[in-house]
């Protein structure tokens, strides 16, 4: 049974992939994450998250663009799927609703 739950780190990664658009692959995602969150994940943990996102069907990937900079190895580009987008939106709406229900925040 596939889980469709979206974890906190996964959610951020998913959003970053959305921001990057056509240019979302390992290195750019890491750098964008560092820029936006001041926290730099390791290659391994990022790819673990990407692997999970792909398994859940929130992103899809294709391989291309080997460069000399990478020692002739290909990149894997990620793109948000429709399910990914709707899940992201749903998660966001839920947060909006929930956060307004907290009385002391005064929003």
């Amino acid at each position: 049974m596939k889980s469709t739950n979206l974890g906190a780190f996964e959610e951020i990664v998913l959003m970053v992939i959305g921001i990057l658009g056509q240019n979302a692959y390992g290195v750019t995602i890491i750098e964008e994450l560092e820029k936006q969150t001041k926290h730099r994940p390791s290659v391994g943990s990022l790819h673990a998250a990407l692997h999970r996102l792909e398994n859940k069907g929130f992103v899809e990937s294709k391989e291309s663009g080997a460069t000399a900079e990478r020692g002739g190895r290909r990149k894997r580009y990620y793109k948000i799927t429709a399910t990914g987008k709707s899940t992201l939106v749903k998660a966001h709406e839920l947060r909006d609703v929930l956060i307004k229900l907290i009385p002391d925040l005064g929003i």
């Binding site: 692959y25 943990s45 692997h51 990149k75």
Partner: protein, 879 residues
């Protein structure tokens, strides 16, 4: 400028564990990040972070095996299938499987049993806490380049002196045991106890025997204290508390009232110290026994403990200093004395000195048994290889089909390895259980006592060895099997040709050699044992009753006259023909000592054995005189007379034809006259040379009374003797044995060892026969077609017989020759270790060769009959 490159090894690691798909992306990302970091952070830091990045990408999702559950499940299914096929092939080839299995179980059983016994023997005295730092100080005296004395014992003050003079020694403990038994009297009954010992109060510090009652520090600190073993305490005092009870002890040097200060655990069978009674050393010191001769009588077993880091060899060399200091007058020209340190754990197997505490084990015998165990294992595995290869043709079609369906050779190997391992594991488990269950029975049967090791690491080591052997021995059959070409085997032809024939010939040659060697060795050993068993002892041992001499003097009499009246009372009976007393009887310890100048040539001291006897000793034991005469009551000067045996004559330096009767020997001021020379006889053992013995007439207290009795109405005679003794020595127990029984006991041990070897050799022969059977079956299946053609061309059964046998001729001759050479070489060495031995006889070589020949012949006849039944039409119609 060449671009900086990241370290290479992380890639290697990743490539081993990560799936190819993930590897490329992960590694690509890592390199790209590295390149960017080189710009911002410098090469060094970038490299470090690169290593972190790459290694951290080894996560579950990136592993080769993850996300791949289907292939894991299918691998398991394959193995499950292999297991099923294994069991099926076992039940399909029941006879072959049973033969193979039987061979494995029997072989493992024998090897395991021997290994257990050897381990037990080699671990003697390992239970002492500091066993590896404890040494026994033995004393060696060399005279004119010959060892004059080498005893397990040394002088009374050696232990304390070493402790005092050398900082390396941190503890010492001494033993003294009187040469005879002592009598313990618990007010109700007297008991003779063999080897009661006097020990230092440090006994419980040096040796880890548990004190069950009493305080280990103070138990032996006071004079007249005694510690008893649990069994003995029960024997003396029943279930009542033993602590604080009194015991009267008497032996040849004195008597004392002892107080029980401790009860210790019973004897441990895995120790060379078999002790039931410990008396404090201070008890001994209150008698004058060794007062004036502390540095001249080497009678004390002395154990010392060396501090960590002390080199025992170096210490041994310098410890001799104290001998030079205290025994100056005993060391002269051509005489040197030294201490030899014996590690505590080696005493049981390696020490065979004068005055051992018990008859020690024999490392040579243990090594020999281990060799047999290894040989048995070799035969078992050779059999296994032969039989498995022989069965391989049955698997040929399976291999062919599997290969056609796309199996690699690599994938087929586990299929047959599993079959072999399953068989080996089951055989090992059955053999282990059999060893555990049969241990008591084996002890009862052979009289060899040992305990199984509880050390799990040893058991797993056995298991490891067995498994390793299984894998190695499966290798060859597996290679043979998996090499089949699918096309040929599926066409119904699976001859191996001559590919492995050299190897097979070597295997069978080895097997023949081992079998011949084992049978020959067994014959040699039983011949030598028989020789010793039937050898004339040199004295009369039949109808000789030996009574432990009384030690307690009756209140209103003196010892000698009581003994005299006992003797007269006994001799009054018609059933008792002679009565004599002595300090030793054959089979019992002789006291040893030195004798000073001989005749007028006041030469150096000579070490000899002494036996103090009374009148009639020589007549009772039927010893023959070479010259001179026995002691006689009618010659008064015989009180100063001595009688030598032939060996003693030689030790004293007399020639063969010297007339020594009437010669004088002066020992420490006293003059003795030689009045007779008796023939040599075996006093203690047939395995040692004749001891030089001097017989002196000593009317003092004897240890044994020897009586020549009629065997008719023995019960009545014994009862009468007991009553007679009670009359004169009311406080002493009546304890006796028959002399021939003592020697029987020694031989029994020898016979048992011989029986054991025979049993194992018999096993080896059976195993070898099994192997031969397997191999010849293999041969026939390989050559069914050839046999068919031969039969079509008119081969008779005799022709077939010689054809089949021809394969075994060369290996048999070469193996047999090799074995005979080995037998001759090692047999001669072994025989030379006996002073009394047989010559190597042709039988030793011919009998095993004949046995093997017969065995092969029978197998070949059986196989010829089988081959005869093959119908040429059946085998030739294929193809």
């Amino acid at each position: 400028m060449s671009a900086p490159i990241p370290p290479k090894w992380p890639f290697w690691i990743l490539s081993k564990v990560c799936s190819d798909r993930q590897l490329e992306i992960l590694y690509g990302d890592a390199i790209e990040i590295f390149q960017r970091r080189v710009m911002t952070k410098g090469v060094g830091k970038a490299r470090l972070l690169f290593i972190r990045d790459t290694l951290s990408s080894i996560k579950y999702f990136s592993l080769k095996w993850s996300g791949n559950q289907r292939s894991l499940a299918s691998t398991l299914a394959i193995y499950k299938n292999y297991l099923k096929l294994t069991l099926r092939s076992f039940s399909k080839n029941r006879l072959a499987t049973n033969i193979n299995f039987f061979g494995l179980v029997v072989g493992f059983f024998a090897a395991l049993l021997i290994a257990q016994y050897a381990i037990y023997e080699m671990n003697y005295d390992h239970f002492h806490e500091d066993y590896d730092r404890t040494y026994r100080v033995s004393f060696k005296r060399v005279q004119n380049n010959q060892i004059a004395f080498h005893g397990a014992t040394t002088f009374l003050p050696v232990g304390p002196t070493l402790l005092e003079e050398f900082p390396e020694v941190y503890n010492q403990s001494r033993f003294y045991y009187p040469f005879a038994h002592g009598v313990f009297n618990d007010r109700e009954k007297a008991h003779h106890i063999e080897k009661p010992v006097f020990v230092d109060e440090t006994f419980f510090e040096v040796f880890s025997f548990k004190l069950l009652e009493g305080d280990s520090e103070s138990a032996l600190a006071q004079p007249n204290s005694v510690v008893l073993s649990e069994t003995l305490a029960k024997k003396f005092f029943g279930s009542k508390d033993a602590l604080g009870r009194q015991l009267r002890f008497s032996f040849e040097d004195g008597a004392a009232e002892l107080i029980v200060t401790g009860v210790m655990q019973n004897r441990r069978s895995d120790s060379h110290l078999q002790l039931d009674v410990l008396m404090s050393m201070k008890t001994l010191r209150q008698w004058p026994t060794f007062k004036s001769s502390e540095w001249s009588l080497p009678f004390f077993h002395t154990y010392i403990q060396l501090k960590d880091g002390t080199n025992p060899q170096v210490f041994e060399n310098k410890s001799g200093v104290i001998l030079e200091k205290f025994r100056k007058e005993n060391i002269g020209d051509g005489i040197s004395e030294s201490f030899i340190l014996q590690p505590l754990q080696d005493i049981h197997l390696d020490s065979h000195l004068t005055f051992e505490l018990e008859e020690n084990g024999n490392r040579q015998a243990i090594n020999f048994l281990i060799l047999i165990a290894i040989l048995i294992l070799v035969i078992v595995y050779l059999n296994f290889i032969n039989l498995t290869t022989a069965l391989s043709s049955l698997h040929a079609k399976e291999v062919g089909i599997r290969k056609v369906m796309g199996s690699h050779r690599k994938q087929l190997i586990p299929r047959f390895l599993i079959e072999a391992l399953v068989m080996n594991v089951i055989a090992f488990l059955i053999a282990s259980v059999a060893v555990v269950l049969s241990l008591d029975y084996i002890t009862a049967l052979t009289g060899i006592y040992f305990e199984l090791t509880t050390d799990l690491s040893l058991w797993s080591m056995f298991f490891g060895v067995v498994m390793l052997g299984a894998v190695i021995s499966t290798l060859y059959p597996t290679i043979v099997l998996t090499a089949y070409e699918p096309i040929t085997v599926l066409r119904g032809k699976f001859s191996l040709g001559d590919k492995g024939s050299l190897l097979r010939r070597i295997l069978i040659s080895t097997q023949f050699a081992i079998t011949v060697a084992m049978i020959g060795g067994m014959i040699l050993i039983s011949q030598q044992t028989d020789f010793l068993l039937t050898k004339d002892l040199g004295f009369k041992s039949e109808q000789l009753l030996v009574i432990s001499a009384p030690q307690e003097v009756s209140e209103n009499g003196d010892y000698l006259s009581s003994l005299r009246s006992f003797e007269n009372g006994a001799l009054n009976r018609a059933s008792i023909h002679s009565f004599t007393s002595s300090s030793s009887v054959p089979g019992k310890v002789l006291s040893s000592g030195t004798i000073g100048g001989v005749g007028d040539k006041n030469e150096e001291e000579v070490s000899l054995y002494f036996n103090s006897v009374s009148y009639g000793y020589f007549e009772t034991y039927g010893l023959t005189f070479l010259s001179g005469r026995p002691f006689s009551r009618s010659v008064l000067s015989d009180q100063q007379g001595i009688i030598l045996n032939h060996a003693a004559l030689q030790s004293l330096g007399y020639g063969e034809n010297d007339n020594v009767i009437g010669e004088k020997i002066i020992d420490r001021g006293t003059e003795f006259e030689i009045i007779g020379i008796v023939n040599n006889y075996h006093h203690s053992s047939l395995k040692t040379s004749y001891e030089p013995i001097i017989f002196v007439l000593r009317p003092a207290r004897p240890l044994y009374l020897s009586l020549n009795v009629s065997t008719s109405n023995l019960e009545i005679t014994l009862e009468e003797l007991a009553r007679e003794m009670k009359l004169h020595f009311p406080a002493d127990p009546f304890e006796y044995f028959f002399l021939d029984q003592v020697f029987d006991q020694e031989f029994k041990a020898e016979l048992r060892y011989g029986d054991l070897l025979k049993g194992f050799s018999f096993l080896a022969v059976i195993l070898a026969a099994l192997g031969l059977f397997g191999l010849s079956s293999f041969l026939i299946t390989q050559r069914t077609k050839e046999i068919g053609i031969r039969k079509v061309l008119g081969a008779t059964p005799a022709n077939l017989f010689s054809f089949l046998s021809s394969f075994f001729l060369v290996p048999m001759v070469s193996g047999g020759f090799l074995a005979c050479a080995g037998l001759y070489y090692f047999g001669s060495i072994w025989l030379r270790s006996f002073p009394f031995r047989i010559e190597l006889q042709w039988l030793v070589f011919l009998a095993p060769l004949a046995t093997v020949l017969l065995m092969t012949g029978i197998t070949m006849v059986v196989q010829t009959i089988k081959a005869q039944r093959i119908l040429p039409a059946e085998t030739l119609k294929n193809e």
